[in-house]
C-alpha cells in the first residue's frame, strides 16, 4: 500500500526548488551513481558559500535533498562543507531506507564541490 511517501518538507522543496539553477563561472561539483546525477555550483567570496545552486536528475527526495543542502549551506564558511553529513537531511526529509544510497550521491557531490573550490582557489 502506498501511504504518504513524501513529508511536507520534501513536498515544499520539490514544489519550490529556490536553489535550482547554476552559478555561471562558479565552482562546480558533480557526481552520478545509482542513476542519479547531481551538479552543485557555487560562488565563493571571502571563504563563504555566497550563492549555492543545484541541478539534478533524480527522484523527489534527491531534489529535496539538494534544495535542503543549498538552504543550509548558503552563506556559511567554505570550511563547513567538510562537516556535511547527509544523515540529518535524510532524517528531515524522512528518506526511506531503500533510497539511502541515492542521497549518498549528494555527499559525494558535496565532496566534489569542496575539491572544486579548493582547485579554483589554487588556480587563482
Amino acid at each position: 500500500m502506498s501511504l504518504e511517501p513524501y513529508n511536507s518538507t520534501v513536498r515544499e522543496y520539490f514544489a519550490q526548488p529556490d536553489h535550482a539553477g547554476i552559478v555561471e563561472n562558479g565552482a562546480i561539483g558533480y557526481f552520478e551513481d545509482q542513476g542519479m546525477r547531481i551538479r552543485l555550483s557555487v560562488e565563493v567570496a571571502h571563504d563563504r558559500l555566497l550563492r549555492l545552486r543545484f541541478q539534478t536528475w533524480g527522484c523527489p527526495h534527491v531534489i529535496a535533498a539538494c534544495e535542503a543542502f543549498c538552504r543550509q549551506f548558503e552563506g556559511r564558511p567554505v570550511a563547513d562543507l567538510k562537516q556535511f553529513k547527509s544523515a540529518p537531511i535524510m532524517r528531515d526529509l524522512a528518506v526511506p531506507v531503500e533510497k539511502t544510497g541515492r542521497i549518498l550521491v549528494l555527499e559525494d557531490t558535496v565532496r566534489s564541490l569542496g575539491q572544486a573550490i579548493q582547485d579554483q582557489t589554487f588556480q587563482n
Partner: protein, 387 residues
C-alpha cells in the same frame, strides 16, 4: 408452509445482514475513495489510508497490532492460507499436525489435502459436550508436531473451546497455534494480547460486516508460505487489488462489535433461554453441545423419530439450518454431531437455531410454536413405525 409468508431468519451463524453504519461507511468509500490502495498517487493514498485505518479498527477489536492483519476474501481463505502456509513453511522441521474432528469443512478439507501431500494429521475427538480436554491435546503432541488448529466457537453447536488452555500447551511445546475464529471474532471477547495464539481466521459477514472479506491475524514473527502469487501487495503474502470498501466495512463492523458484543451476548442469552424453555418439553428432544458456557447465539437440538429434511420443510418460513449451514448441500448426517456421540438418526434430525441482533422474542415464540407443531405433524405421519 408457503413461500409467501414472512421469512423468520434464524440462521445468523450462516451469515448476518449488514449493519446500517457499515453499509453507510462502505457507500462513503465507494463514492469518494474507490481507488486502488496500491496506486502511487493521491487517490491511491487516500484509499491506502482507509485500509490502514480499518486495520487499526480490527486490531483494536482483537487487541492486536495493526501490522498483524492480513486481508483475505473470508475465513475459508484465511484457514487455507494459515494451515497450508504454516505447514509448508515448517515442513522441513516435521510433518505432524493436530486438529479436531469437529472443525469446519474449511479446516477439515485443508488437513485432508495435507494428508494427501504426505503430512500426518491426528484428528482429536471432543468430549460429549464438544470440548477438547487440554490433556488430550497434550498427550497427542509429538516432537515433530508443527501446527495445532482448533476452532474457537463451533459453527453448528456453539461449543466454545478453551483457547487459552490449548494455546498454553502449544507455546510450551513450541508448536504453532491456529484458531478458526470465524464464529467468535466480533461476537465474543477475543483478546490476542493475552491469548497465546499465532494465527487466527476472521470473516466479516458473521458479525454484520460485508461478505467477501476476511482477515488472517498473523502474530509477529510467524512465517507463512504464500498460497496465491502475483503483485507485491500485502508483503507478497496475499496479492490482488485490495477491496477498499469491503475492508472499510469490516473495520467499521469491528468497531461496532467492540462496543456492543457484551450487550449482544446478554440479548442472545435471553433469547436462547426462551427458545430452550419453549421446546425442552418436546418428547425425545436433545440439546447438542454444551448445556452451559456455549455461545448463546446458537441452539442446536435433535429429536427422536423425525426425518430432518421433512422437519426443515415443515418449519418454513422459519429459516434455520440442518447440519452445517456451510455444507448443507450434502444430506449426510453432520460429522460434527456424530463426533459428539450422536447417532446418525439423531444427527439427521438436528436443527440449528441461530439468533442475532435483530431477533425478537416474538420471532422466538413463532419458532417455538412451529417446532412443536412440525414435530407433532411429522409424528402423526408415522406413528408406531418410527421406533
Amino acid at each position: 408452509m408457503s413461500a409467501d409468508k414472512q421469512l423468520i431468519y434464524l440462521d445468523y451463524a450462516a451469515t448476518t445482514p449488514l449493519d446500517a453504519r457499515v453499509a453507510e461507511r462502505m457507500r462513503e468509500v465507494q463514492d469518494t475513495a474507490y481507488f486502488n490502495p496500491s496506486s502511487n498517487h493521491l487517490a491511491g493514498r487516500l484509499s491506502a489510508q482507509i485500509v490502514a485505518h480499518a486495520a487499526t479498527q480490527l486490531a483494536a477489536l482483537i487487541k492486536a497490532d495493526a501490522a498483524s492483519i492480513l486481508w483475505t476474501s473470508g475465513a475459508t481463505e484465511s484457514n487455507n492460507l494459515a494451515i497450508l502456509g504454516a505447514a509448508g513453511q515448517r515442513q522441513h522441521r516435521g510433518k505432524h499436525l493436530l486438529t479436531m474432528r469437529t472443525e469446519h469443512k474449511a479446516v477439515v478439507d485443508v488437513f485432508r489435502t495435507l494428508e494427501k501431500r504426505g503430512f500426518e494429521v491426528t484428528w482429536l475427538d471432543p468430549d460429549a459436550d464438544g470440548r477438547l480436554p487440554p490433556e488430550r491435546l497434550q498427550a497427542a503432541i509429538r516432537d515433530d508436531t508443527q501446527l495445532v488448529s482448533i476452532m474457537h466457537i463451533n459453527n453448528e453447536t456453539g461449543v466454545v473451546q478453551d483457547i487459552a488452555g490449548i494455546g498454553a500447551i502449544c507455546r510450551e511445546h513450541k508448536v504453532l497455534f491456529h484458531v478458526d475464529g470465524a464464529q467468535s471474532v466480533g461476537k465474543v471477547s477475543v483478546d490476542l494480547s493475552t491469548l497465546p495464539v499465532d494465527l487466527m481466521s476472521i470473516t466479516a459477514h458473521k458479525f454484520y460486516g460485508p461478505k467477501g472479506i476476511g482477515a488472517l491475524y498473523v502474530a509477529n514473527g510467524v512465517a507463512l508460505e504464500a498460497q496465491m502469487f502475483g503483485g507485491g501487495q500485502q508483503r507478497r503474502l496475499r496479492p490482488g487489488t485490495l477491496p477498499v470498501d469491503l475492508i472499510a466495512g469490516l473495520g467499521e463492523a469491528a468497531t461496532i462489535a467492540a462496543a456492543r458484543y457484551a450487550g449482544d451476548l446478554r440479548h442472545l442469552s435471553q433469547l436462547r433461554q426462551r427458545l430452550w424453555d419453549g421446546i425442552a418439553e418436546v418428547a425425545g428432544i436433545k440439546l447438542n453441545g454444551q448445556e452451559q458456557g456455549g455461545y448463546p447465539g446458537i441452539l442446536n437440538v435433535s429429536v427422536d423419530d423425525i426425518e430432518g429434511e421433512s422437519l426443515l420443510l415443515a418449519l418454513e418460513p422459519l429459516c434455520v439450518a440442518t447440519g452445517s449451514a456451510c455444507n448443507s448441500q450434502s444430506k449426510e448426517p453432520s460429522y460434527v454431531l456424530r463426533a459428539l456421540g450422536r447417532s446418525d438418526k439423531d444427527a439427521q434430525s438436528a436443527i440449528r437455531f441461530s439468533m442475532g441482533r435483530a431477533t425478537s422474542n416474538d420471532e422466538i415464540d413463532v419458532a417455538i410454536e412451529s417446532y412443536i407443531t412440525a414435530v407433532a405433524a411429522l409424528r402423526e405421519l408415522a406413528p408406531g413405525i418410527t421406533a
